[in-house]
């Protein structure tokens, strides 16, 4: 019974989150719908050639209906890309947060590694993609590794910053109360770092998609990045837009899931907004 109550409370929270994200953003949704309508009608009125700019409706039609020009197995390509960036994202999230906790556990190790991470983060990591391709060959694993490398550093840097930015007074207080190091981590450091972790994960959600797509650009025989590059060779613009729409939706969905977890795990951060 109690379990049921807890589940239903979570469901109510979920429902509220969904409703609020629609209601709060109705103006933005209106502008975006307006943007697409403007696009559709200006292309139709100005008779823009399709290889320059297709209408959004034609791009969507390419996703669902058989076309005369190019037929892609959309389900396969979408599945490949989604698989790549989801694995990339999950591996980054788990290893980034986990490694950050291990590193911050030892102060000296943290002081040594933090400058290194910020340094690496300021480098254009994507340039390593062709070298990874050379080492690992074509395939899904290569793209996952690229997605991982591109999105890893924002997560670990954010988590370490969050674990470290605790008020000294608070630490003094619990030390006075004989808190163990584990207790400090579990009760203070990790909860305190949640906002930082989530902002890192939000960056990571877009970066892992970027990594997967660039990997597919460089070399691959499937995935949405492959479709885009292949259509570019053929000057066949509508599938590029179809792929862009799917990628954006997937990116927005991943971002939204991260935001949802943020709400569920840090209810306190959103309570003050309501008041």
């Amino acid at each position: 019974m109690e379990k049921f109550a807890r589940v239903s409370a979570t469901m109510i929270k979920l429902g509220r989150f969904v409703r609020r994200s629609v209601v709060d953003n109705y103006k933005s949704i209106l502008v975006i719908v307006g943007f697409f309508l403007l696009w559709e009608f200006s292309v139709r009125i100005l008779h823009t050639p399709e290889f320059v700019l297709p209408t959004p409706s034609s791009a969507i039609a390419h996703l669902f209906f058989k076309q005369a020009d190019a037929n892609y197995n959309w389900a396969l390509h979408i599945r490949t890309t989604v698989y790549e960036f989801l694995i990339g994202f999950c591996v980054t999230a788990v290893s980034g947060v986990g490694l950050a906790i291990v590193i911050v556990w030892s102060k000296r190790f943290k002081n040594l590694s933090m400058p290194m991470f910020t340094f690496i983060n300021s480098l254009p990591i994507i340039a390593i993609a062709p070298i990874i391709l050379l080492w690992m060959g074509y395939g899904i694993k290569t793209n996952i590794l690229i997605a991982f490398l591109v999105s890893f550093f924002p997560v670990i840097i954010n988590t370490m910053t969050g674990l470290d930015s605790i008020e000294d007074d608070l630490l003094d207080l619990v030390r006075y109360l004989h808190a163990s190091k584990l207790q400090i981590f579990l009760k203070i450091r990790i909860p305190n770092s949640l906002p930082y972790i989530f902002s890192g994960l939000k960056i990571c959600s877009t970066m892992s998609i970027v990594g997967a797509i660039v990997g597919e650009f460089i070399a691959s025989d499937r995935g949405l990045g492959y479709i885009i590059i292949n259509s570019q060779y053929a000057m066949d613009t509508p599938p590029i837009f179809s792929a862009l729409i799917v990628i954006s939706l997937a990116g927005a969905a991943l971002y939204w899931v991260v935001a949802l977890f943020e709400r569920l795990l840090m209810p306190w951060a959103f309570k003050s907004q309501k008041a």
Partner: protein
């Protein structure tokens, strides 16, 4: 002046030391395990490809460096100017904010890098598509950071100057813009890295010059030392731009610098 030079050397010395240590370990690993050059070249081989005239002449390094550097610098300047200007416009007028913000958010959630092939169709080969890709990627951190900085002013301060009959322009010039400087510079630092990333990806997809092009070209010939040399040069370009912004930051916000040194 002499003091600042010694301070600079003191600051940079450990970093250089780490760098050379890293190169030494890398060289030792390659030599001890006899790793084949096409898998992992030794740093000496990489530098030979860059500096040894008899080898370097095949690659025409300056030609490629110049192309990439120009793309990076032009796109960076464009992101800085357009990003900051648009952010000021948005926080100046409610109408602009309501019109532009949803579109900015929509584009921000779009993986901009995927637009690169489209720009290629629209503008053909050359500098323009690469600069545009870099601009699209690097533009959003600047505008988002700047508008966050312009908004993050203490209400008490605003109340105070309103009480003193400050005009809107004065509030912007004396409070909002100085207040947003740390945010702007943080945004510009992200943008610097992103500009390099954007130019490289543009060159990956289609170009006839530039370090990204050379990287892909070398990959086709399994010419690994050249690839690492490109990687080194690209990192150097990114770092140079990054430290230049750090330098500007110190000049524009001397107060922050003093606080840190305490």
């Amino acid at each position: 002046m002499g003091k600042s030079v010694t301070a600079f050397i003191k600051k940079i010395a450990p970093k250089l030391l780490y760098f050379f240590l890293f190169l030494a370990v890398w060289q030792a690993v390659v030599m001890v395990f006899k790793i084949k050059v096409f898998i992992l070249p030794s740093p000496i081989a990489v530098f030979q490809h860059l500096l040894d005239p008899s080898i370097a002449v095949q690659y025409d390094w300056w030609h490629h460096i110049g192309a990439t550097l120009m793309e990076v610098l032009v796109s960076f300047a464009a992101t800085a100017v357009v990003g900051i200007a648009l952010a000021i416009l948005i926080s100046w007028s409610r109408l602009f904010s309501q019109l532009l913000s949803p579109i900015i958010i929509l584009f921000n959630s779009l993986p901009k890098i995927a637009l690169a092939p489209l720009f290629l169709i629209w503008f053909g080969y050359g500098f323009l598509p690469n600069i545009l890709v870099a601009f699209m990627i690097a533009f959003f951190p600047v505008i988002i950071n700047t508008s966050a900085g312009l908004m993050a002013v203490e209400d008490d301060l605003l109340d105070l100057v309103r009480y003193l009959n400050a005009s809107k322009l004065q509030v912007f010039m004396k409070i909002r813009i100085p207040n947003s400087l740390p945010y702007i510079f943080a945004g510009l630092k992200i943008s610097a890295t992103m500009c390099v990333v954007g130019s490289i990806v543009g060159e990956f997809i289609a170009a006839e010059k530039g370090l990204g092009y050379l990287l892909r070209d070398a990959q086709a010939f399994i010419d690994t030392p050249t690839m690492f040399a490109c990687l080194l040069l690209l990192s150097a370009i990114g770092l140079a731009l990054f430290s230049f912004i750090g330098f500007l930051e110190k000049i524009c916000m001397p107060w922050e610098h003093v606080q840190v040194e305490k």
